[in-house]
């Protein structure tokens, strides 16, 4: 009898591993598809948006990036409804194909110089399709895995789905890194950046074949066989006060805080290292990849732990330590790469200046000044200043574009790796248990719809807007300081580069407080 029981248990575990493997691979690919756009934001800005101020071009891409996130809740509603009506399996097959197709097509869109405004328009439409697909995918995969898992191990098993978001970002960075290193910088800037988009179609093909053979979730199949599926999941989820109050609680007490911690630890950290610390893009991608890889196992650890001590405590502790630690962490990141703290080897400085004809304006020219500096600790700085010289000598001089690239030494690289690792560790605390937490809040018949919306508003809207809002706050502080300096007044901000962090800190603090008072450690069980 015992042996029969053990054999059955082993067979169930094996079947669960297959379910999780097939679901996770597909979800990982969707995250990969979604994040290569963000990881390549800087280069996409130069390809698809009108030339001019580079910060404006960068913000444009962030806005498109945000648009991709903002549309996610609509995908959650559309595909969530489908998932609760016809089933989880078919719905997330559709989202996989939609995402793969849109990603591949982004890699084919000609740039702005070739087709003008059609280029950013097409990219925007495809980005919106990606957002819609992702909005449908995650809730489906999390629900599907949770509905296969035993209640006492739901945190552990769903944590494998939670890994996929960070793993997708990791794979995107690795693919970009491999593409960058396999060709010259010019070739990558010219066409090589398209390769990571094209690679997606192969991965989606493999995932489609794996997922095709999967069965419908047993809980949903049972509900469907009993004729108890919802006829109007949207109305039952959001028009029913009893359920809607839990949707709001999930959003404000959990996913909102989790979303900003996720995007600060992974995207804002990357953006800060590249654009504020001016670390070389290749080095930045490399160190981010190492930090992500080191922290990834903790998703499973915290998922497992949440089955034992409850989900609430772990998630809220993650938000609390994050909001307390962000400013010291970012100050340390800034100072580790601050050239004012380093000693320059003046004899090693190389200066070069070239004037070339401006290919876009007749009789105008571009002066490029390059300064290379070395520091005693091995840090290297390359500063390229481009100044457009108008054909008319009386014309107002254009503002010089300055691009700094800092190549950091090994010690500073490891300092940054550990500082990013700590942030991703916070992410694993808030994100590891959240799929199980959300699934347990809602009943089977409207679970896909009900859990997807707060998840994607929390992550897509609150989290997705983080880079744009934080950049705006930091830029505002920097400009205020510059204006004060010009007027010989005291500087209003001592650390303008840290001002952007107020957004995640405030949002996480509100979410922590709501979660602390209103969420129960053992959520309402929703097995039916």
């Amino acid at each position: 009898m015992i042996s029969e029981h053990q054999t059955q248990k082993k067979s169930n575990t094996r079947s669960l591993v297959n379910v999780i493997g097939a679901s996770s691979v597909g979800t990982l690919i969707e995250w990969y598809d979604f994040y290569i756009f963000g990881s390549l934001a800087t280069i996409l800005a130069t390809k698809f948006f009108p030339e001019g101020n580079s910060t404006a071009a960068f913000l444009s891409t962030l806005a498109t990036f945000a648009a991709g996130f903002v549309v996610r809740p609509f995908g959650a509603l559309f595909f969530g409804r489908l998932g609760d009506l016809i089933g989880r399996k078919y719905t997330f097959m559709v989202t996989l194909l939609l995402m793969g197709g849109a990603t591949f097509l982004i890699g084919l869109v000609p740039d702005y110089e070739t087709i003008g405004f059609m280029a950013p328009l097409l990219v925007l439409v495809l980005r919106l399709l990606q957002g819609l697909a992702l909005g449908g995918e995650y809730g489906g995969a999390a629900t599907y895995v949770a509905e296969h898992s035993p209640a006492e191990g739901r945190g552990f098993w769903t944590s494998w789905i939670q890994i996929t978001a960070t793993a997708g970002l990791f794979v995107s960075l690795i693919v970009i890194l491999l593409t960058r290193t396999s060709m010259s910088k010019e070739a990558f800037d010219d066409w090589g950046w398209r390769v990571p988009f094209w690679v997606s179609i192969l991965m989606v093909g493999v995932s489609y074949i794996i997922r095709r053979n999967m069965h419908e979730s047993p809980l949903f199949a049972k509900v469907k066989a009993e004729g108890k599926t919802s006829t109007n999941p949207l109305k039952e989820s959001f028009g029913n006060k009893f359920n809607f109050k839990f949707v709001l609680l999930a959003l404000f007490g959990a996913t909102m805080g989790q979303g900003v911690v996720w995007y600060t630890g992974q995207f804002y950290a990357m953006s800060f290292i590249k654009t504020v610390c001016n670390v070389d893009a290749l080095q930045a991608d490399g160190l981010m990849s190492i930090a992500l890889l080191m922290a990834t196992p903790f998703f499973v650890l915290f998922g497992w732990l949440s089955d034992r001590i409850g989900r609430k405590g772990i998630m809220l502790a993650g938000m609390l330590v994050a909001l307390v630690a962000y400013r010291p962490i970012y100050e340390r990141m800034y100072q580790a790469t601050n050239l004012a703290n380093k000693q320059e080897i003046t004899a090693a400085t190389i200066k070069d200046s070239v004037v070339m004809a401006n290919p876009k304006v007749a009789e105008a020219s571009i002066m490029t000044k390059t300064v290379k500096k070395e520091y005693t600790d091995g840090t290297k700085l390359t500063e390229v200043t481009k100044l457009k010289i108008a054909a008319d000598p009386n014309a107002e001089p254009a503002k010089a574009e300055v691009k700094k690239t800092v190549s950091i030494n090994d010690d500073d690289r490891w300092t940054l790796i550990w500082l990013v690792f700590i942030q991703v560790f916070f992410v694993t605390m808030v994100y590891g248990p959240i799929a199980a937490f959300l699934v347990e809040m809602f009943p089977t018949k409207i679970r896909y719809t009900s859990m997807s919306l707060p998840y994607h508003i929390g992550n897509g809207v609150f989290g997705g807007l983080l880079p744009a809002v934080a950049t705006y706050l930091a830029t505002g502080a920097k400009e205020a300081n510059m204006a004060a300096e010009k007027a010989s007044e005291a500087l209003p901000y001592a650390t303008p580069y840290l001002e952007g962090l107020w957004y995640p800190i405030i949002v996480a603090a509100v979410s922590f407080t709501i979660g602390l008072f209103y969420i129960k450690n053992r959520p309402v069980a929703a097995e039916e």
Partner: protein, 75 residues
């Protein structure tokens, strides 16, 4: 605990008003009126997406909390 939960409802209502005011005056309007296309997109997202979610969501949440919807006996 239930009394605290109810009273905190007032805090969420106040927070909704405060974030709506600052979100629109400090973030939304400056972006919408800057005259730059990029700012316009950002301003639209702030004013028409983020703010309604924050304000509408927190007002509803605050009202539910005040009505005792989140009290232990009703959960």
């Amino acid at each position: 605990m239930n009394t605290i939960k109810r009273l905190l409802g007032l805090v969420w209502l106040g927070l909704a008003a405060l974030s709506g005011y600052y979100g629109i005056t400090a973030l939304g309007i400056p972006k919408l009126t800057s005259g730059k296309t990029d700012d316009l997109v950002f301003g639209i997202i702030i004013v028409f997406v983020l703010m309604p979610i924050i304000v509408g969501g927190l007002v509803t949440f605050g009202l539910y909390a005040l009505q005792g919807e989140y009290n232990d006996e009703t959960n």
